[in-house]
């Protein structure tokens, strides 16, 4: 027996009515199992934390004498942040490192550069740009610029390892974990997480140390070469240093607005 059109429409209508009737039931079920944190709880910052409107670093290149000084900064940073030591160049992870003048300032070198600048290593790291290209490149917003103080930070939870940010960064400040980093960390700092295979990492200007009132690890280990402070405050040490001395920034013509300055 072939069902008539009339019967078919009746059954279709009845099914639709049953389906619609289920909507409020589903909604009630969804509402009863509600998730969320306790409304009475609050979040705040540590009172001793350091705050600024624009964190910046000033490198006094005149004080650099040896590669050991740079090594001390690298050591301090990489120990605090559980940065693995991978000897193979293409797997290397670095947050801060030393490089020569012609690499740090590729548009400026010439044959008659001063002996001192020619020989020393420049400490380089993430420039925490005011107009960061990595943030624009990131498809998941894992890399972002913190509104309160301009730090360019990473949410490793969200990084999908696409490496667009590495292509976008003109300073090579970012490294990718091609391997599980844990076996290559000599001494793990329990206070700071490690990273996992497949995420990008970079210098964070020690956001976790600033939050508890400490200066960045490299600054503490730098013997006065590095000065860290608030460029938004005209009386801060960094503002004063920049006011009184001639300084360079890396690749300024790209318009990224680096926050790391070099007094040469």
């Amino acid at each position: 027996m072939k069902p008539s059109r009339r019967d078919f429409l009746k059954i279709a209508g009845a099914s639709a009515a049953v389906g619609l009737g289920a909507v409020p039931v589903m909604e009630a079920l969804a509402a009863s199992g509600g998730h969320g944190t306790s409304p009475k709880a609050q979040v705040e910052k540590w009172p001793e934390g350091l705050t600024a409107t624009h964190w910046a670093m000033v490198v006094d290149v005149r004080k650099i004498e040896s590669a050991e000084q740079i090594e001390a900064m690298v050591e301090a940073c990489h120990t605090v942040h559980n940065v693995p030591l991978l000897n193979e160049k293409r797997h290397e992870i670095k947050w801060i490192w030393g490089t020569h003048y012609h690499n740090a300032f590729p548009s400026q070198p010439h044959e008659h550069i001063s002996e001192h600048l020619h020989h020393i290593l420049f400490p380089v790291m993430c420039n925490h740009c005011q107009n960061p290209p990595c943030v624009r490149a990131c498809p998941t917003k894992a890399t972002f610029q913190r509104e309160s103080d301009g730090l360019v930070l990473m949410d490793f939870h969200r990084c999908i390892g696409c490496r667009f940010c590495m292509a976008a960064c003109p300073y090579g400040s970012r490294s990718f974990n091609f391997r599980d980093p844990r076996p290559f960390i000599a001494e793990t700092n329990k206070k700071f997480p490690t990273r996992m295979k497949g995420v990008v990492e970079k210098c964070n200007f020690c956001a976790e140390r600033l939050a508890v009132g400490q200066l960045p690890a490299c600054v503490e280990a730098s013997d006065g070469i590095l000065t860290f402070g608030d460029l938004g405050d005209p009386d801060s040490e960094v503002s004063q240093l920049l006011k009184e001395n001639y300084s360079l920034r890396r690749k300024p013509n790209l318009g990224t607005g680096p926050s790391v300055y070099y007094i040469v």
Binding site: H35, G36, T37, S38, K40, A41, Q42, V43, E44, K45, W46, G49, F144, R146, S148, L153, D155, F156, H157, T188, K190, K191, F192, P193, T194, R195, M196, A207, A211, V212
Partner: protein
């Protein structure tokens, strides 16, 4: 309806196969895991949230903590009792619950969830200190 027998037989076999896990495991429910509180956790007496809440909602709490710490730079959690906590999985949660195998893992295994927190967050900060 010439193939009535085949269709009905097919439907019966289908139903039996679909419901197989249910009636096969009937009455054989695995007992809920017993979790062991570490000495520090026992001494502390209370967690960040009341026990029932933390049991069902610790994942949501950690998710909120993650965003608040990483994105907003707010690192202190003040609970309903006014007690302050550093919002850190490694340094607060796992510092107290330092027995991951007997505490976290037992429930996670039972519920068949595999959180990837420990890929980066170092569990058990004290035990590994030596």
């Amino acid at each position: 309806m010439n193939d009535k027998g085949k269709i009905v037989a097919g439907l019966v076999i289908f139903l039996v196969m679909v419901t197989f896990p249910f009636w096969y495991n009937l009455g054989k429910a695995a007992p809920a895991p017993e979790i062991v509180l570490s000495a520090q956790a026992k001494a502390a007496g209370a967690c960040v949230l009341p026990k029932a809440e933390i049991k069902t909602e610790h994942m949501q709490l950690l998710d909120v903590w993650r965003d608040t710490v990483v994105r907003e730079g707010q690192r202190v959690y003040v609970n309903a009792e006014g007690k302050k906590f550093d919002m850190s999985l490694s340094n607060t949660c796992l510092d107290c619950h330092s027995n991951r195998k007997e505490f976290c893992d037992r429930c996670h295994t039972y519920a068949s969830v595999d959180p990837y927190c420990y890929d980066c967050h170092i569990e058990d900060p004290k035990e590994n200190d030596q």
